[in-house]
Amino acid sequence: MNEFLHQLASGLALGGVYAIMALALVMIYQATQLVNFAQGEMAMFSTYFAWKLTDLGWPYWRAFMVTVVVSFLGGVAIERIVVRPFAKAPVLASVIVFIGLALIFNALAGWIYGYSVTDFPTPFDGPPWFGQRYMSAHESGSVLVSLCVLMLVYAFFRFTPLGLAMRAAAQNPTSSRLVGIRVGWMLAIGWGLAAAIGAIAGMMAAPIVYLDPNMMAGVLLYAFAGAVLGGIDNPFGAAFGGFAVGVLENLMGAYVVGSEVKLSVALAIIVGVLVWRPSGLFGRRLVARV
């Protein structure tokens, strides 16, 4: 029983990372109906940036904040420079651009920082919280950070004029422009936010999966499975899906399929959901009006 609870708890910790990664995917998906396959590598690159800062002796939280801000600006720049020219291109062209971006970030990280696996610091050191034995301090802290991100993102979209404008621009670009919203910038800000959230996901995942240029490949796949499971057009669903996939992955890895092939759990979830319930658990079924 103890072992089971322990597996459940570590599932939740990584699940939080998947949840916010899934949220980043959904954010871009809602605005463009495209899945950003470079999201994971962008997050990995941000994480290396944070590692470099802590390596230079910066205190953790200062490095964390600076990384989030720089990632936001980087995300905006990527949208403006690389993604924007393909806004009217066919879907496949955009997919190729995303894959290209992923390869570029992967190669850049390897070139700059090398391919050796590195430790990444956690701000949540010390004994487990609240005297329990199932979850390490970092795992608890990681869940807490994930929940904070989810709440902040919710509050941003729900309560701020900019958040409202971004939702409007994603939903009805023409009407948005007619009330004076600069739709192009809303997309860029969306990319910035997704990159910033990805950076946080990377920094929370790195102490668990360790830092190397391929660290986010699995994470992105699980996040994608979470997003599909919850419904890729529904931020809440995607976040829930992320947590669910984290727990499922861990339990399956521990008790059913073994940790070597547990990545295939993600694929099984994706295929299963697409076959049985393509809109996801909480997604909206699209019914076209003719």
Partner: protein
Amino acid sequence: MSRILEVRGLRAFYGPIQALFDLDFHVGEGGVSALLGANGAGKTTTLRALSGLIRRQGDIRLSGKPIGALSTEAIARLGVAHVPDGRGTFTDLTVEENLRLGAYVRSDRNAVRRDFDRMFDYFPRLAERRRQQAGTLSGGEQQMLAISRALLMRPALLMLDEPSFGLAPMVVAEIFRILAAINRDEGVSMLIVEQNASLALDLADHAVLIETGRAAMSGPSQTLRTDDAVRRAYLGY
């Protein structure tokens, strides 16, 4: 009467296809101009060209300032509120959020709050449905919402694309009564596209008849109303 909108030689294009040919017309300060014509004549296209939603050429001036090369967003920010055909409702957002988007570029919060109340006075049904998802409103309510959203921009010029489209006659009458009141009491200048020529001529002081992308006739509403050809073709008596 000075002119809020002055259009000379307006041409517009859908891709390589030219849809408007050297259109001239104007909207007087505080006045209402109507664009009349059959289906496919180019009325909606004219509004879309003025808003910069499609490629256009020609001299377009808002209060004397050329706006023919500006982006849609910039034109909206200069005070052109366009209620598009199909009403352009943000269907997944609430009624209140739709209205807040109308006031998105404004920073005068207290005035915005007063304008909200004013819209709810004009259209009490919107007040009742404040928190409801806008996509669940009836067609008439969505038209009222679209007009309110546009008015919350405090526009210099309100452009309406077929506000009567698909609505019951009683609802149409109510909407036109309120439009007339808004024009009279608040001095909002309007450019209105209508299939229903008789309704539009009642509201407008100036009218343009468009046929296949060209201005077939223009002048004071009274002149068009009494023209035999217009009467037979568009007023139906």
